[in-house]
Symmetry: C2
Subunit: 342 residues, 2 copies
């Protein structure tokens, strides 16, 4: 592979995925700045002392320059590419701060943050937030099956970069791609963003079926598990298509691939399994806390998506799994109701 000429990249947010991206970037010889939010201070301390990243359990490349919360302007001003890697609720404020300090104009702004959030009564995807607050930048959305810890260990990972102008996604691909970090590109931004936003509640649904299976049978309910994940992907494809994306996006790495890896591990699946084994929502949360796994993203996602889909005219008939997950989490429905959907 031809290593592209050195580029200057700033990553905003030192969480798992933002930090993991420094590995392929360093392997490609780029100049990397990592900016820390106010919430990232424990991570900053660890890295500044040469210790491993507390969430990745890996050391990051030595060449990275570290920037504290108050140095946003300095972190971005010389860079060609800015990667937003904060939480989904953090994307709105960080883009406002960027607008205030400047230095983003004419650059490629990428985001590894996924989700749909309600800001001032309006539902927005992450690239819509960026576009609203930072007019005129080229935006690249990153999705696909990529657990950050694996990427940081250079385990084979294949993701999708999407941009309304595909050539921008290709430009980003040239900078980031390595032997172990493969990148496909697409212009179906709304499709990839919807898939990424939808996957967590589907992972909870799958977890419920797994938990129910494990409780009722030693080996079994594999037929049911296969139906569940297949129908989740079909429902996702239907939603994507209704909202202007391509069905095939839901069947590819950004949809099914990412859902699959989410089902293989992670908190949403575990939370679902606890519900499927018979725990109430409250009991499941208690159990998650006892295991030191506080936040279950899909829980908040299910509420937002329920409201978002209703506003778009996509009700329980068109998206039965997602709306049933909502009812299980917020309206006291029995978890096994999700099985009846099938």
């Amino acid at each position: 592979m031809v290593i592209p000429p050195m580029a200057k990249i700033t990553i905003l947010g030192a969480g798992a995925m933002g930090s993991a991206l420094t590995i392929p970037l360093a392997d490609n010889g780029h100049d990397i700045k990592l900016w820390f939010t106010e919430f990232d201070k424990p991570i900053l301390n660890a890295l500044a002392q040469g210790r491993e990243h507390p969430r990745l359990k890996t050391r990051l490349p030595k060449e990275i320059s570290l920037y504290g919360p108050s140095s946003l302007k300095e972190a971005v001003e010389d860079s060609e590419v800015i990667v937003i890697a904060v939480s989904s609720k953090g994307v709105y404020p960080i883009t406002q701060r960027l607008r205030d300090v400047g230095g983003y104009e004419g650059k490629i702004v990428m985001t590894v943050t996924k989700g749909i959030e309600e800001f001032n009564g309006e539902f927005m995807t992450m690239t819509q937030v960026i576009s609203k607050n930072l007019g005129g930048v080229d935006i690249v959305f990153v999705s696909g099956p990529s657990l950050a810890a694996e990427l940081s260990r250079r385990m084979p990972t294949h993701v999708v970069y999407s941009s309304v102008r595909e050539e921008v996604a290709l430009e980003a691909k040239k900078i980031f791609e390595t032997q172990y970090y493969r990148i496909s590109v697409t212009s179906d931004v709304i499709g990839t963003e919807l898939c990424a936003a939808l996957k967590n509640p589907y992972a909870i649904a799958y977890g419920i079926v797994e938990g129910y299976s494990a409780k009722n049978s030693v080996e079994g309910y594999k037929n049911l598990r296969a139906s569940m994940i297949t129908k989740s992907v079909s429902e996702m494809a239907e939603i994507v298509s209704r909202l202007g994306g391509k069905k095939e996006t839901a069947f590819g790495l950004s949809g099914f691939g990412d859902l699959y890896v989410t089902c293989l591990g992670g908190r949403n699946g575990l939370f679902g399994r606890l519900l499927g084994s018979g725990l109430s929502v409250e009991e499941a949360f208690k159990e998650m806390k006892a295991r030191n796994l506080g936040v279950v993203e899909g829980y908040a996602n299910a509420l937002t998506l329920h409201n978002f889909l209703l506003r778009k005219g996509i009700g329980p008939r068109d998206a039965p799994i997602i709306h049933t997950v909502y009812k299980i989490l917020y309206e006291g429905y029995d978890a096994t109701k999700v099985i009846n959907v099938l």
Copy 2:
């Protein structure tokens, strides 16, 4: 659910799936005849003595009439529906025998047997064999994620019945469907048959990645596993589409759903895992035998499909995974080559 009026059904072949179908049929109150091939004698003995089915480890309904190999004519002559449930190599001879004894004319002939086989130099799917040897019958192909042992225990199972004339599939659905055995219908017979024929080598490929992962990492390579299964389904969709079927069939229960359940358990996946962990093909077979798991369907399938696809002009560039599996199994390629495909 309205139980349809009693129908007379004959199942040819008392293997796992043919026998499991007697459960929903009996629950719906139908008249069931089960005919045994020469290979099924140990099963016949067990059932005739009131013992459980040796492969399903379940007792079959008492009301079933049992027919030995020499009573094919008597087994089929009064029935309205004939279900072929022999091995894929057995479909040609059984349909020839049916033609000889008669009694199939004007009936619905269903098959739960999957695969593509070469007969007299011609590659044929199962419904093509039936159609060739039993002209003029209505054919229904059964596929989807349905492990027979689960169906026989009334665990929730959702399958697909396909027929060139969809109304025939609907007629069969009325007879077979129960609360736990749900049936969707489609007219994309070539699509569902190709998916069913292709899934075993893909399950081997997935197994290789799993075995490789487990050998090299305690937790890991989930990103790779997700990519592998996603790309298998995409490749399957491409093949289906090239050969006249619908891509969406590959993304549904007959394609992805069935592949998923095959990856969750079964011999093909295990065989793949042994290869992925570093064993040679010979060593993997030895290990399978030691575990009393002789036949790995995907091994023979890979050879047939390799030749079939080449004849159809679909080479390694269009179907890299399936051809690589062939090369691993028959040409001494290192198993990890399948990872390079990704």
